[in-house]
């Protein structure tokens, strides 16, 4: 019974991690800022569900609280702030990123392959049922970094940062069945504060340059 439970836990956690990674890669495919926010919302919802699954199978009831806080913060509060900021700024599509869409999709695939190669020693040494999802979590961190590097609009970079943070939370959930509750709440508070500061910055960039294209920041040199 325990063995079957383990197999089911392993399948579910790997499936959940794949869906979370899929939403992260979908971020590279869509162009409008509204769809980025939607992808982030769905990703965080699936991540909260994954925390519930890990808490149920790993017999750690603190993770239920973490899942609830994560849901409230990243599915309800932050997307609402992002949508409001986007409404104030005006609709701008990510039309010309530094790397075009088709190439960035292929590079994302290669990044996940790289993540698999990098985490091979960890996966082979670990005995946890969730070890199959570890490469996917590292892959999500890489994809989040990639979004920050190759996108021009400041709001996209903010969403990329939030996706990166999701990747770290996913790694914590799968690798160590979550981190102590106090630390997790501290991380959430940090993310919220960082996000609010970034919001203020994006608003000021918009009012100074009349666009959130970070290429325009070059004008500060002259």
């Amino acid at each position: 019974m325990n063995f079957m439970n383990d197999a089911l836990f392993s399948q579910l956690s790997t499936l959940g991690a794949s869906v979370v990674l899929f939403f992260g890669i979908a971020l590279l495919w869509r162009r409008s800022l509204h769809s980025y926010v939607a992808a982030f919302k769905w990703q965080s919802a699936v991540l909260a569900l994954l925390f519930v699954i890990v808490g149920y199978f790993g017999n750690d009831h603190e993770l239920y609280i973490v899942a609830i806080v994560l849901f409230g913060l990243k599915v309800l509060i932050i997307p609402r702030y992002l949508d409001r900021l986007q409404a104030r700024i005006g609709i701008e599509r990510e039309a010309t990123p530094y790397v075009n869409v088709a190439s960035s999709l292929i590079i994302a695939g290669l990044l996940v392959l790289f993540a698999y190669a990098v985490t091979r020693p960890v996966v082979s040494l670990s005995t946890l049922p969730t070890r199959g999802g570890l490469p996917l979590a590292i892959g999500l961190i890489f994809v989040g970094l990639f979004v920050i590097i190759t996108r021009k609009k400041a709001l996209t970079q903010v969403v990329g940062f939030l996706v990166l943070e999701n990747g770290i939370a996913l790694l914590a959930a799968l690798g160590t069945y979550g981190i102590p509750l106090i630390v997790e709440l501290g991380v959430f508070l940090d993310v919220l504060m960082g996000f609010l500061v970034m919001q203020v910055f994006v608003y000021h960039i918009q009012s100074t340059f009349d666009s959130i294209d970070v290429d325009r920041l070059n004008q500060l040199r002259h």
Partner: protein
């Protein structure tokens, strides 16, 4: 001997059911759009009409124009010999595997594109170039998406892949399995000319991909090409149904098992037809420059499927 008879019966089944499948999708789309629609067996009448009509050819067309429909049709029929439709153990199993299926499909596409170029019309050239753009990214994705399953089964033989998934039902919620299904579904839409890549019902030449290549064809040539397109759709649906959800496929050659397999195949194809009809009604055609992006996404999904099957064994 019964094996070879069964093989022939399977090919004849594919030939007879394929136009009905196309008719079913059209009828479902009509119903979803609140129209009455032609009955699902309308394509059979269309084929009969076309076979009776005279062939009108351009003066600039060469032997390629006359031969291409036969090559396209026979390559599609050849694939139906080696894919598992009703039974997983075929006598032609050792003749072709996954790689042969991909190459036979590409052979048909290649000759169709050449035939589009042959008469020297503008629309034929446009259709051929668009088709090659789509095929260049879609063909490796077909192979990769099924390769993920092949790695798990330890063989690229399609029958053995079906048997492996039947023996291990819990493998269906593997991420490799699901990602492979998603990738093959997107590629199926691209290769058979369905929305969002190509509108099969369009009459505007500027939006055509598949239709533009066959614009010059008439009479029995057009009938063969339309039938081959229907068989290709049937092949992709059967691959999706039998490789990823193989329950119902006969593993023994008893009449009861074969009957259940036939019924299961029809049900699975009908469900897939409904899914495609819903999708086509719901979404609009993608602009042409965004098609490589969608196919790039399906390629990445197939790559992730192979990676997760390979590195999580």
């Amino acid at each position: 001997m019964t094996g070879y008879l069964l093989e022939l019966a399977q090919v004849l089944l594919a030939l007879t059911l394929a136009p009905g499948l196309v008719g079913l999708i059209r009828w479902l789309k009509a119903r979803l759009q609140n129209r009455r629609g032609a009955p699902p067996w309308q394509p059979y009448f269309e084929l009969r009409k076309l076979f009776g009509k005279e062939v009108v050819m351009s003066n600039n067309a060469s032997w390629l124009f006359r031969f291409a429909p036969y090559i396209v049709f026979s390559s599609a029929v050849a694939v139906t010999f080696i894919i598992p439709l009703i039974t997983a153990t075929l006598p032609f199993d050792n003749v072709g595997d996954l790689i042969a299926v991909v190459y036979l499909l590409l052979l048909g596409t290649f000759f169709l594109a050449l035939a589009g170029l042959d008469p020297g019309t503008a629309f034929g050239g446009m259709g051929a170039s668009r088709e090659m753009t789509v095929a260049a990214i879609a063909e490796p994705t077909i192979a990769l998406s099924i390769f993920g399953l092949a790695l798990g089964a330890g063989s690229t033989n399609l029958g053995r892949i079906v048997m492996h998934t039947l023996a291990d039902p819990a493998a269906v919620i593997n991420p490799g399995h699901l990602l492979g299904f998603a990738a093959l579904f997107i590629v199926m839409l691209a290769e058979t000319g369905r929305l969002p890549i190509d509108n099969p019902a369009t009459h505007l030449e500027l939006t055509m991909i598949h239709e533009a290549m066959i614009l010059e064809y008439s009479g029995r040539y057009l009938a063969l090409i339309e039938w081959a397109a229907a068989i290709k759709l049937f092949i992709f649906f059967s691959l999706l149904a039998n490789l990823f959800l193989p329950w119902g496929v006969a593993t023994s050659l008893t009449p009861a098992a074969l009957g259940i397999a036939l019924l299961a195949l029809v049900v699975k194809l009908a469900v897939l037809a409904l899914a495609v009809a819903l999708l086509e009604t719901r979404i609009a055609k993608l602009r042409l420059f965004r098609v490589p992006e969608l196919l790039g996404l399906s390629f990445v999904l197939a790559l992730l499927a192979v990676t997760s099957s390979f590195l999580l064994r």
